[in-house]
Amino acid sequence: MSQNSEEKRQVKTLERERLDLGRLVKVGEAGLRIVGDSVRRTDDVLKATGKLKYAADYPQEGFLHGKILRSPYPHALIRSIDVSKARELPGVVCALTGGDVPGRNGFGAILPDQPVICQDKVRYIGDGVALVAAESERIAQKALELIRVEYEELPAVFDPRDALAEGAPKIHETGNQISLDKLRKGDVEAGFAQADVILERTYQVPFLEHAYMEPDCCWAIPQPDGTMMVEGPMQAPFAVRRNVAPVLGVPINMVRARQIHMGGGFGGKEDSPIDLCCRAAVLAKHTGRPVRISLEREEVTLQTCKRHPMIMELKVGVTKDGKLTAFKSTVYDEQGAYASLGPKIPPAGGSHVHAMVMSPGPYEIENCWVDAYLCYTNHPYGGAMRGFGAPQVHIAHEQMMDELAAELGMDPVDIRRKNAFKLGSKTATSQVLDQSVGLRETLDACEERFGWSQRSDSAGWVDAAKTKRRGVGVAMGWYRTSIGTGGDACGANVHVHEDGSVILYSGITEMGQGAFTVLPQICAEALGVELEDVRLVKPDTDLVPESGPTVGSRSTTLMGNAIILACRQVRESLDQKAAEMLGVEPERLVFCGRKVFDRDNPDGKALEFRQVAAAAMASGMRLIGQGWWAPPKASLDPETGQGSPYFVYTYSTHMAEVEVDVQTGEVTVTDYVAAFDVGKAINPKALEGQIEGGVAMGLGYALMEKVVLENGMPQNMSLQNYLIPTMLDMPDLKPLVLEQTNQHGPYGAKGIGEMPNIPATPAVINAVANACGGRVRSLPANPEAVFWAIRELGGPPQD
């Protein structure tokens, strides 16, 4: 985190749009003590001292080591597999092929279309064709070399448009098109007729690697009662359990999934642990012994999901004074070999539909038309990655806004202000935004802090020798909280003990984002105890209630509400008991800082929280609460893409200043301001951490990141050549946090995990274009791409 961050961070509560805050949130009822405070992370000492154990740090005695033989071809039939030599190697305990999977030979976050062990066909380089378990990793690796596979290569498809063409090689029996989703609002042709300027542009983004620091690792341990326990870093233990059970052919209650602290996930560890745990479990079932699979960095690149590449063809109309009249887009969303998290879970779950819904941007546009294709190819597969389809489409609409502004001779800030959502706006899906819409406020705050007008005036040459030009860029964004499926919900259990201590059971995982700090903060606030009174039980499907996955910027909001509801149940007993003890009405009680007292007589008699808890327990009252919270119902018409897919959105504006070396194309991001409407910052410092990390990822997307694929084979498999930004590449970042209360959120909060990543990429790209005139529409804007973009113009502007 940057120096003097306390000083730099600004948190500002906006005037509330509405004060009837629903049944959940009673902001201001009692002054908040723990919520809103930048308490230290509950795991920081363990991390800083190296005591925190990641999966790879766990002892390995007694474990077998699993390895996966992967296909060297992007598309081929398997003619035969001979594992006999591998089985004979001393130290090898089993070598399995497709027929050996005890249950369903398929897994997947949404559709089980990915074989645990491919039997007849491989669909990408990295597909698993055999599994080996051996006494050591070295032996397992050797055994892989002894397996003979005969393949018959098939023609492969690497472009989604080719995959859709008639006669294209069929990757799955169901065909290459997974879906064509449509959004239809108003009359787009009529909208173009009203436009004074119409621009058509194509934007393209590549596959991205999450580059989480910790390579995947997991294990399966058969239990004496026949249960299979799987453990590892994972974002979605319930999804892991949901897949491992049918693969083993056992009911769900015979699988136990436990999360180990993650060294980063970014959406990637929603998918990959499903893959690894299914495979480890099959090996453990066969051998009756614990089996561990740990991937090398290169294996992570080969095997696990990536951010979906997209080709986005936009046509947008605008009037002379900058009002958007029509938005039309065709999106080719490349799924790669397997469905993963791409396809739709009705009404609006899945990354593809999410991308479609977000694609016209946070702007009021009467007429919208989107055709969004999702198709299989023989590339690695696309999964969740910080923004779930939103970063891609923001890169398109935010560049388009700047291109339109340039065409109109308008300031990029003005065209945004003219069209940005406000309270009561209708989105492209005709959802009316009836609360918590702080988008314009983020633009105003950003503009002021960044000094937009002075800075845009001083854009141009930096040095007398005319090698560098400075420029500024702006981008706006919106992102949902929750996942838009019919079944999105969170459960939490809260147990209060007679000494006042508390256990919180939650299935939300920790991957560095701070859930294990923020959720106990909410629990402590809701009960009126101190943070250290709350112990969190880590995600374990045998212990915690179903909580869904830790994705979609949903955790603080959905789980926070579930925790508050669970606390309320316990509070009923405590309120009753304390009312008796103090002789006041329960409504007048305040629980705060381990004290219970009369609101109307704060200096009078106060009880200790533990006294009340002990008394309640001694009288047989319930001190166990179970909270369950589901967001307001989502809707999306499957034909027109109209409805209310997500119940609330976070809004943001970013402004970047860059210097472009016009002779080499190198870009340096020199300054950065990012403003967010987050509803309520439960822990401002943790939130700032999300902002810094998210912006860094967005900057990498803009300037350097790309999984280079040649005939389906990744060329940059390690972090030596898949480059992500370092500290030196990061600008001095100034986060601005605005709070426009979310009526449906705990203390007014909404999601923040993904939002910071989203406008960062187009803000940087727009700044590059502003500086040097060259616009890179196919990312990344690495030095060479910027260099050619300048060349294409015939050189940099001379002014």
Binding site: R138, T664, E666, L703, L723, T726, L728, D729, E784
Partner: protein, 291 residues
């Protein structure tokens, strides 16, 4: 990936190291900072049974001048060289060492290791080539000195004999009227192997204008770090300044033989050779003129 097993040796002095190296007859590898060797061993590219650690040898860590020559011990760390060695390190070399890897890597990486690994764009090799350095190679039979252009034979390939230790790098001591500069182009600002890198050195005549002699070295432009003969020719005798530097840049780009790969096209790399050449010469001239 785990390191393959090996036996680790820690000689007390250079003579003992040489004797060990000789004794193991090709089974052994010299270990300095390990930032190349251990990485290669992890990747299974090398699997020596014996490692002889040179890191403790004070004889390899010295630097100093002898007459007109500057001698740098092969065991010097990039971090020390980047720090300037108390003003002794030529500018381009200090810049190159400072651009290598990250602080952690610079604290481990040695000068000798960088030269023996002989990557086509190594951050210390390219400046040393422009500075006209030689290396001293010592074996039980004695010492020989090899000029760098003869030392680099290919990527990872050098004139070092298996029984030899690279003990010192020898350079002419920087004099007034001389200067050098270094430039590196990459996708990010640290931990990046250059896409293209260039180093330049020049010496001015007493008039402070005419170039007496100059060398331009190019990285990632050929299988080894290379000198541009065209640039040297364009500069010798010319008046220092934009015109001469443009001509040298043009000549350097013509001499470069870069490849196309996923990190960049040959065409772009060639253009960058020219751009960086101009800049490095500019730096060198500024230093030569004492500003």
């Amino acid at each position: 990936m785990l390191l393959p097993s090996f036996t680790y040796h820690r000689p007390g002095g250079l003579a003992e190291a040489l004797a060990m190296l000789d004794g193991f007859g090709g089974q052994a590898k010299l270990l300095a900072g390990g930032t190349d060797l251990l990485v290669n061993m992890k990747h299974g590219k090398q699997a020596p049974a014996q490692l002889i650690d040179l890191d403790g040898l004070a004889e390899l860590k010295a630097s100093g001048s002898r007459g007109d020559a500057l001698e740098l011990g092969a065991g010097l760390k990039a971090a020390a060289i980047a720090g300037g060695l108390g003003g002794a390190a030529p500018q381009a070399l200090a810049q190159g060492a400072g651009a290598l890897g990250s602080p952690q890597v610079r604290n481990r990486a040695s000068l000798g290791g960088n030269l023996v690994t002989a990557r086509p764009a190594a951050d210390m090799c390219v400046p040393l080539l422009a500075l006209g350095a030689r290396v001293a190679l010592v074996s039980p039979a004695g010492e020989r000195q090899v000029d760098l252009p003869e030392f680099f034979l290919g990527p990872g390939l050098t004139a070092l004999h298996p029984s030899e230790v690279l003990t010192r790098v020898l350079l002419a001591k920087p004099r007034p009227g001389e200067g050098s500069g270094y430039g590196k182009l990459g996708l990010r600002k640290a931990l990046e192997i250059p896409l293209v890198n260039v180093a330049a050195w020049l010496a001015l005549e007493a008039d402070g204008k005419t170039i007496k002699e100059a060398r331009v070295a190019l990285g990632a432009a050929a299988p080894t770090p290379m000198l541009s003969p065209g640039a040297a020719k364009a500069l010798a005798g010319a008046t220092a300044g934009d015109d001469a530097f443009a001509a040298a840049a043009f000549a350097a780009a013509a001499d470069a033989r870069p490849i196309d790969d996923h990190r960049g096209s040959a065409e772009y790399r060639r253009d960058m050779v020219a751009a960086l050449t101009k800049r490095c010469l500019g730096q060198a001239l500024a230093q030569a003129r004492g500003n």
